[in-house]
Symmetry: C2
Subunit: 277 residues, 2 copies
């Protein structure tokens, strides 16, 4: 191979990188010119340096951080082979992660679609439900009237590393009984649904992974309004009694935001459901 | 739900985000406090704003740029469902891309491994080769003595969008003839191997996609030195004649960097091979 010197502009053109990138590589000691003119400060590169840029560009292409590229430069061919094998594992991890995200999006979409399909508000209907995994914790005197978004702060913190996704709603559980006033209802548990069915380990001591079992649920949904809450509950009870159904679960209350716009009043959709047989 | 006001510190804790992130979201108009005290400039957030942060965090988790999150906030539930479906497609594209990178790494590794397995330098041996796709162009008076890395600049530019990876070596093609001196050799073509076998379209007019066909190749490798070049070529010829083989291809010359270290003299490994039957 013939040796030749190139200006930074020539080098950039030959290597198909920007002059800015070459200056940056020089600054971070990743790839320095072979020679700098002490009078003009002009950088000059050798023809043989082009292969170094091949390595840098190739490793950049597979997502290697520039600091790692520095190490890779100094490796023997077999060292470089091991290094690339390690990079391959990182790519596999990225793919596994994206696949998990994909699965979670699928579940979220299914739940969003279901909510959009709710036949009509303030009417009772029957719904076949798939099993849902939830994280639950004791409700400590929480009730429909004093529940806040902040009540879910600890649950969200626990669910976040499991699901990534948070906007599939939150819930509460209370016994199925003949309540007269909304003030009579005290939650036993509050919960957050999780998206994946993966093993859930290392939860805080006051939380537990549970299932909302698959089955037929009697179901009513409404845009949350404190005045209408107990009325919807009574509709649910009446439906069950009229149809002589046997209730086989607690009441699950699930709510989710209807709008995320900062310019709009908060609107929550609230669902009440019990499993029947 | 009960409405409450939180300080930025409380809000950060409740939402499991940093105070810095909340300040940044405020600055870029993504998520602003419900109320700012005009005397102290302290920010206050409403409890109901927590669900907005759920959306922001969820979309961040699936890789949505913050600018897009702004749009998503204003969407109806069904608009949001469509939006998430679009995000899903982007994730699929990322996965497809990573899969391509993975396949390219596999091919690069195979080629690197093969080079590491070269039984010994300056000795002729036979090798079964798989088919390789190359991009070639006319050599325009290039010969072993005047070839530079820069000679490959145009080819690299064409190969880069196809393969991403560049450091699998470069090559030249010349007819199999009885050359006496290195000066007698003129390349017909120079080429760059590509990694994938995908359709190669839109090459510059002076380039062409070609194959180095699978088959048995007579093969010699050496660390490049101009003095030894012709000697290696003669060894190759002698082996073919001694074994009364029929040559069924041009001579393929392939070279690659042995070291990418900026502190070392450039070392190239050079391979000469012809297909025989």
């Amino acid at each position: 191979m013939k040796e030749t010197l190139y200006t930074i502009g020539e080098m950039a053109k030959l290597a198909n990188v920007s002059i800015k990138a070459l200056r940056y590589y020089d600054k971070i000691d990743l790839f320095k010119p072979a020679y700098v003119d002490s009078d003009t400060n002009y950088r000059y590169y050798k023809d043989s340096q082009l292969s170094q840029l091949d390595l840098i560009k190739s490793l950049k292409y597979i997502g290697t951080p520039l600091e790692e590229v520095k190490k890779a430069r100094e490796m023997s061919p077999s060292g470089l082979l091991d290094f690339i094998t390690d990079q391959e594992k990182l790519i596999q991890m990225q793919m596994d992660n994206l696949m998990k995200v994909q699965q979670n999006i699928e579940t979220v979409k299914k739940r969003m679609e279901r909510r959009l399909q709710t036949p009509s508000l303030r009417e009772v209907f029957l719904w076949e439900e798939e099993e849902t995994t939830i994280i639950e914790m004791a409700a400590h005197n929480l009730k429909p009237n004093n529940l806040t978004n902040a009540s879910y702060s600890m649950l969200k913190k626990a669910v976040e590393p499991i699901s990534g996704f948070l906007n599939t709603g939150f819930g509460a559980i209370f016994p199925y009984e003949k309540y007269i006033h909304i003030e009579d209802i005290y939650y036993d548990k509050i919960f957050a649904p999780v998206l994946s069915n993966q093993m859930i380990s290392s939860l805080p001591a006051d939380m537990e992974a549970e299932k909302i079992h698959a089955g037929t649920y009697v179901y009513i949904a409404d845009v949350y309004h404190p005045e209408r809450y107990i009325c919807n509950y009574h509709k649910l009870m009446k439906f069950i009694e009229d149809n002589q159904m046997t209730v086989t679960s607690d009441v699950y209350e699930l709510f989710g935001a209807l709008s995320y716009s900062p310019d709009q009043q908060e609107e929550l959709i609230i669902e009440l459901k019990v499993r029947v047989s």
